[in-house]
């Protein structure tokens, strides 16, 4: 009997895993199940080029549509996996069908967080995760229309930049002091605030939405501090939560996502996880981390597939992502939640800098604005997790690649 490997989540991670199983020579059955009706696609353009109507959906596809049949990957798109039976080794899908597996990869990703705000379900209030979500927002975009963006994380920031580029008047409401505050902190967030203001976005910080109001559809947004903002439509970005219900009752540990080791294995034999949903042990940072970015989905799906085939190597990619806003290219590498010192090389006022998040003399992470080369050159420094001299980090004449051997 040939083995059957089932991948739940027809995403960048899941689609990449299915492709990798074939590339690595697996000759059993591969079944790829996805809740969305489209073949796997990349999400970064949804807040950027695709939202601005500058790129097509086809350009976002991970593989051409015929790739799956050509590689004998059985696909079930537009079908939700409901539960997993560990004892029988089955995945139950919409309509009650039971799909048997020998090994199972869960790459179900995340869903947008919904906060209990009155009027959130009104017509004209959107969030953004899927291409279907994006198409709804795109239909609202036209020069001179008024939008409110609630939440200035990465998705919110990119949406605002795209809407401004498309001529939409935007008012931002965010509960923090600056955009991207949670991840990047106040100093770097302040730089991005200036960028958005220079591009005509109005921004309200340290306030939250009280309600979305309107008769048939949203007409205004009210805030806790008593503001009233008229709008034609609104977008909310409160982050995502991992989609894990599938594994309820299976014995797989769920804690901020699906808990896996550095080989993408859960504690239950034959069940693996990858991508946004996977809270994975990371050997570099010596802790579990869950990463909601493109590169992690791109690399961890295939890593999980190799693990399923018994070719596992520890997954220890340094997390990295970019965020394009207007003509600014922001990149981040590493992983940090707190830091002792922010060491800046370059000039934040000129918006050309790299900032290192340093804790106990080690660089946990770095963020660069229009300074991609330095960010690239910092990655090994981050991976090494060795003490680094702050003065050298700051000095633009010191080659960041040389720093590692010098310390």
């Amino acid at each position: 009997m040939p083995e059957t490997f089932v991948v739940v989540g027809a995403s960048l991670a899941g689609g990449g895993a299915a492709a990798t199983l074939r590339q690595e020579g697996f000759d059993g059955r591969v079944i790829l199940i996805g809740a969305e009706s489209q073949p796997p696609y990349e999400r970064p353009p949804l807040s950027k080029e695709y939202l601005r109507d500058e790129s097509s959906f086809e350009q976002a596809l991970v593989q051409p549509p015929e790739f799956y049949s050509e590689n004998e990957i059985e696909t079930r798109f537009g079908v939700r996996a409901k539960r997993v039976g560990v004892a029988e080794k089955v995945v139950e899908i919409d309509g009650g069908e039971r799909v048997s597996y020998d090994k199972l990869l869960v790459a179900t990703g995340g869903r947008n967080r919904r906060l209990p705000i009155p009027g959130l379900d009104l017509e004209g209030v959107y969030d953004l995760r899927t291409v279907a979500d994006c198409d709804r927002i795109r239909a609202e975009v036209a020069p001179g229309r008024k939008a409110v963006m609630v939440g200035m994380g990465f998705i919110g920031s990119e949406v605002v930049a795209s809407l401004r580029r498309s001529g939409v008047d935007v008012v931002v409401v965010d509960r923090n002091k600056v955009p991207l505050h949670r991840v990047l902190g106040e100093e770097v967030g302040r730089v991005m605030e200036g960028v958005h203001r220079d591009h005509g976005a109005s921004m309200i910080f340290e306030d939250t939405v009280a309600a979305f109001e309107g008769d048939d559809r949203v007409e205004q947004v009210t805030t806790q501090r008593g503001r009233r903002i008229e709008c034609d439509f609104a977008v909310v970005g409160f982050g995502i939560e991992p989609v894990t219900e599938l594994l309820t009752g299976t014995g797989v540990e769920i804690d901020n996502g699906i808990v896996v080791d550095e080989f993408c294995r859960t504690g239950v034999e034959g069940i693996y996880a990858a991508g946004d949903v996977a809270n994975h042990y990371h050997p570099v940072f010596e802790r579990r981390i869950r990463v909601e970015h493109w590169q992690n989905a791109l690399e961890q799906g295939p890593a999980a597939a190799r693990s399923m085939l018994g070719k596992a190597e520890p997954y220890e990619e340094v997390p990295w992502f970019w965020s394009d806003q207007y003509d600014f290219n922001l990149q981040y590498a590493g992983f940090h939640t707190e830091w002792d010192e922010l060491v800046v090389r370059g000039n934040t006022e000129e918006r050309n800098f790299i900032a290192f998040y340093r804790k106990i003399e080690r660089v946990l992470a770095a963020v660069a604005v229009n300074r991609g080369r330095d960010l690239r050159r910092s990655m090994r420094l981050i991976k090494a997790q060795r003490p680094v001299d702050a003065a050298k980090l700051r000095d633009p004449d010191v080659d960041l690649r040389a720093l590692l051997s010098a310390t």
Partner: protein
């Protein structure tokens, strides 16, 4: 008709360096790796960043904006997000000049 055009002095480009030149309207990058010059399309096929502003490691150039990697010898994509190769061009050092054919 494509012809060799002088873009710089050959010794202007140091080992491990990259520079972009405008050759009759085409942005072409030249890299020097282990004494050999390689010429390739400077404009990343993903989002049009200048590859010469990126990083060069042996014969791999990494885009500064989104991390796509290209082989400077062939122009082939080694790693996404880019999917389309960049052009590959002839380059030579002639009489102390660096010359590129577009």
């Amino acid at each position: 008709m494509a012809e060799f055009e002088v873009v710089a002095r050959a010794d202007d480009l140091k080992e491990g360096d990259m520079r972009a030149f405008d050759v009759r309207g085409t942005k072409i990058a030249v890299a020097k790796v282990a004494g050999t010059f390689y010429a390739f399309g400077d404009t990343c096929t993903h989002r049009e960043c200048s590859l010469a502003e990126g990083d060069l490691e042996e014969t791999t150039v990494t885009c500064p904006c989104h991390g796509s990697e290209f082989d400077v010898v062939s122009g082939q994509v080694l790693r996404g997000p880019a999917r389309v190769p960049v052009g590959s061009f002839e380059v030579r050092a002639e009489g102390g000049n660096l010359e590129v054919k577009d």
